[in-house]
């Protein structure tokens, strides 16, 4: 537009208007370049959320524990690796103390990383903690001892009890948890910790309704009889949910509210959140309405005494009659300890 005017006054010193235009062009170009350069820098260093490169996990709202290839070397790294091996394959690596067919990883999914699957990064900073369950301050070691006692059913293992205090099993597991919690806050309830909760429903829970939910959503993996499935070598791929191979009556998962939360937030595997609140309560009730190994704390007490002492007021069928059968008596003791040589 201004080319003609410019030609009209060739001898004049540069028109101030022309200079301004060129200048603004340079400024605009320079500004764009700066923005592009800084933007590229931010992108490269992954500082822009949601715009990360394909090989990185999509940022979620939860704490991000380290991945396996970030495991440290040296003595501590070795302990972390041993801890992870125990966590994933408990019956082999804590062989003397596991009296059923489960591993830690069966309920703590994603190698103990998955939010609302009681991830270890959230649990680590919560201990020592007072627990009404045993009316004392629990260290992480005490807590894991509880897992062996109830969830791993140590009473039917070769040693008949959880690993003694100070055992290397606790050392290695705690190394693993500590490493998973790298950078996590201490003594804080973290988003995604525990199993979450499912709101109570008007209908309450019913094993009869749960049976249908189970058949439609769970049986494909855990089998119609809830006993899980093994591969050709007899290795559990899907864990047993009740019966002698599962957690005993003292485990947290035997409570219907705990199981409902775990189920709704994690099951069916790869499709969490597809069950309604009602379905989650009902199927949890169904799973926990079968007999399983007796409560490890029962000792010489009757079921009713044990119920009053340990289960009063809980959402649990322990000590109650379901379909005319008293639950809590326990599955028969195994002929020889689970995992003992033949």
């Amino acid at each position: 537009m201004s080319s003609e005017t410019e030609q009209d006054v060739p001898a004049k010193p540069a028109s101030p208007r022309k200079g301004r235009l060129v200048k603004s062009l340079i400024f605009a170009g320079g500004g764009t370049l700066i923005i592009a350069a800084l933007g590229a820098l931010l992108y490269e260093s992954g500082l822009i959320p949601g715009l990360q490169r394909g090989d990185q996990t999509v940022a979620s709202g939860y704490f991000q524990p380290p991945s396996n290839d970030e495991m440290p070397d040296g003595a501590f790294g070795d302990s972390v690796r041993r801890g992870q091996a125990i966590f994933m394959n408990t019956a082999t690596n804590a062989s003397q103390h596991v009296g059923n067919g489960l591993s830690c990883a069966n309920c703590h999914l994603g190698e103990g990383r998955q939010p609302y699957s009681a991830p270890m990064w959230a649990a680590w900073g919560r201990y020592p903690q007072y627990r009404a369950k045993n009316d004392q301050i629990n260290t992480m070691e005490d807590r894991v001892m509880g897992c062996f006692t109830f969830s791993m059913n140590a009473q039917h293992s070769v040693s008949g009890e959880p690993p003694p205090h100070g055992d290397d099993i606790y050392r290695d597991l705690q190394s693993y948890f500590y490493w998973l919690a790298s950078g996590a806050p201490n003594n804080t309830q973290m988003e995604g910790g525990g199993f979450g909760t499912v709101p109570k429903t008007e209908l309450g829970y019913s094993p009869e309704r749960g049976q249908e939910v189970f058949a439609a959503n769970c049986a494909v993996c855990h089998a119609g009889d809830g006993q899980g499935q093994k591969d050709i070598n007899g290795r559990y791929v899907f864990p047993p949910l009740w019966g002698p191979g599962s957690y005993n009556w003292g485990a947290g998962m035997a409570r219907i509210n705990t199981a409902a939360a775990f189920i709704q937030n994690n099951m069916p595997l790869s499709r969490p959140g597809t069950l309604t609140d009602q379905e989650a309560w009902d199927v949890a009730a169904y799973i926990n309405s079968f007999e399983r190994p007796k409560d490890a704390r029962q000792g010489d007490m009757t079921v009713e005494e044990t119920r009053r002492l340990f289960h009063d007021g809980d959402d649990i069928y322990y000590g109650q009659e379901v379909n005319g059968v008293l639950l809590g008596v326990g599955t028969p003791d195994p002929v020889r300890p689970v995992g003992a040589p033949e």
């Binding site: 004049k12 010193p13 999509v58 396996n68 089998a223 050709i232 070598n233 007899g234 791929v237």
Partner: protein, 414 residues
């Protein structure tokens, strides 16, 4: 910006007393900004590249060590990748399912026996120390080269068998030729019998009775019926499959029967299969399933889609929780050998077939997965991920088919 200090003058008469002068011109701020930004960018890029170079350097050193046999522990990486899924990184196995290597009399007998077992696989009960195991170990003959077998066998025996003998690749080659046609060891007793090593007391191998394939079924498989294709014309004489045609050898009977039914019902869409299954009775479907379930054939699948094997291994073994994709092995079994009817073996399946099925689930042409599990998982995976995982699964050894009583059927189709 810059003030013009020149005095007013008539442009027609140039100033005779012109003196050179300097404009009071500071460097424009955008220019400064550009230089600083480019400087920072350059420095950051240099730093970033240096890290890449350091990593590349480490990898080069490792490669050289491997190539020249100077690696600290040759075989270690292979063990982690291929053996540890069952025998575990610490060699302790799985209680009640996978025998330990640590303390095992089989490992104590030196690298040649270990190499032999790797090449042949085991199919039958085995005792290791005080414990009995079902004993289904695949043959790794199709998976490892002679050098790799030699390295692994030497690694395993030096770590857990207190032997320092390094097996040579030439010895493996000779062994491979010798055992090529022998099939899997028939349990621990078979190992002891065939090799003459002292291996404690091994459980006896009960050779099951099996019914030979009827002439009618045999004709279906190898000749076809009424102008229809035979099974073997696409899936191969031994059910080994190729490219987009799946390997059938070792798939469970119930799985095959279900798939044939799904083709008929349109839950799987494949024009050739739709034609073939239309004429099959339920009895024939089952007989075909029984036949293929009992076949054991070396794998001819190869990772040939150019997928990222590392990513494939990650998806198969760990999954990608950020995509809500659990590991393949968490349902299909720890080595991809399959679990019952719903979760077929994936190991040694042809990569183009696996990738095409994942695409079919994602695209809605295959709708026969319980709870729509595979539909959702496939949709969550990118095309590159599907290729990656299909390639990785193709690189695995085939499932040691069925139980002992299937073994006798092996000869029927050959």
């Amino acid at each position: 910006m810059t003030a013009d200090r020149r005095p007013e003058q008539d442009p027609r008469h140039p100033d005779e007393h012109f003196e050179p002068y300097e404009l009071d011109a500071s460097i424009p701020w955008p220019l400064l900004g550009i230089s600083i930004a480019l400087g920072v960018w350059g420095a950051a890029t240099l730093f970033d590249t240096r890290r890449h170079e350091e990593r590349a350097q480490v990898e080069r050193v490792e490669d050289t060590q491997l190539a020249t046999g100077q690696a600290v522990e040759p075989g270690h990486a292979l063990f982690e990748a291929s053996c540890a899924t069952c025998h575990q990184p610490d060699g302790l196995g799985i209680r009640g399912a996978v025998p330990p290597l640590a303390g095992s009399p089989f490992v104590r007998n030196g690298p040649e026996l270990v190499a032999n077992i790797m090449l042949r696989g085991i199919d039958g009960p085995i005792r290791v120390n005080d414990s009995l195991y079902d004993g289904h170990m695949p043959s790794f003959a199709s998976v490892f080269t002679d050098v790799e077998v030699a390295e692994l066998a030497s690694y395993v025996t030096s770590r857990w068998g207190e032997s320092n003998r390094a097996l040579e690749a030439a010895e493996v080659a000779e062994l491979r030729g010798r055992v090529a046609d022998l099939g899997s060891f028939r349990g621990g007793a078979g190992v002891a019998e065939d090799t003459g090593f002292a291996l404690d007391e091994q459980p006896t191998f009960a050779s099951g009775t099996s019914q030979p394939v009827s002439p009618e079924i045999s004709a279906l498989i190898f000749e076809g019926r009424g102008g229809q294709w035979s099974c073997a014309s696409c899936h191969g004489d031994l059910g080994q499959g190729r490219e987009n045609t799946p390997r059938l050898a070792g798939l469970p009977t119930d799985y095959i029967v279900k798939q044939l039914g799904d083709f008929a019902a349109g839950r799987r869409i494949n024009e050739s299969m739709a034609v073939v299954v239309a004429e099959l009775s339920n009895e024939e479907k089952r007989a075909l399933g029984v036949y293929y379930a009992g076949l054991r054939v070396p794998s001819n699948a190869r990772p040939d889609l150019g997928g990222d094997l590392e990513r494939g291994e990650q998806l198969a073994r760990e999954g990608d929780w950020s995509l809500t994709v659990p590991s393949c092995f968490s349902c299909h079994g720890p080595s991809g050998f399959g679990v019952a009817t719903e979760f077929p073996p994936l190991a040694a399946q042809h990569a183009p077939y696996t990738a095409s099925q994942l695409a079919a689930w994602a695209g809605g042409q295959r709708t026969n997965s319980s709870l729509d599990l595979m539909e959702h998982i496939s949709s969550a995976l990118s095309a590159a991920d599907r290729r990656a995982v299909a390639d990785y699964l193709a690189s695995l050894p085939p499932v040691p088919a069925g139980s002992g009583d299937m073994l006798a059927e092996q000869g029927e189709g050959q």
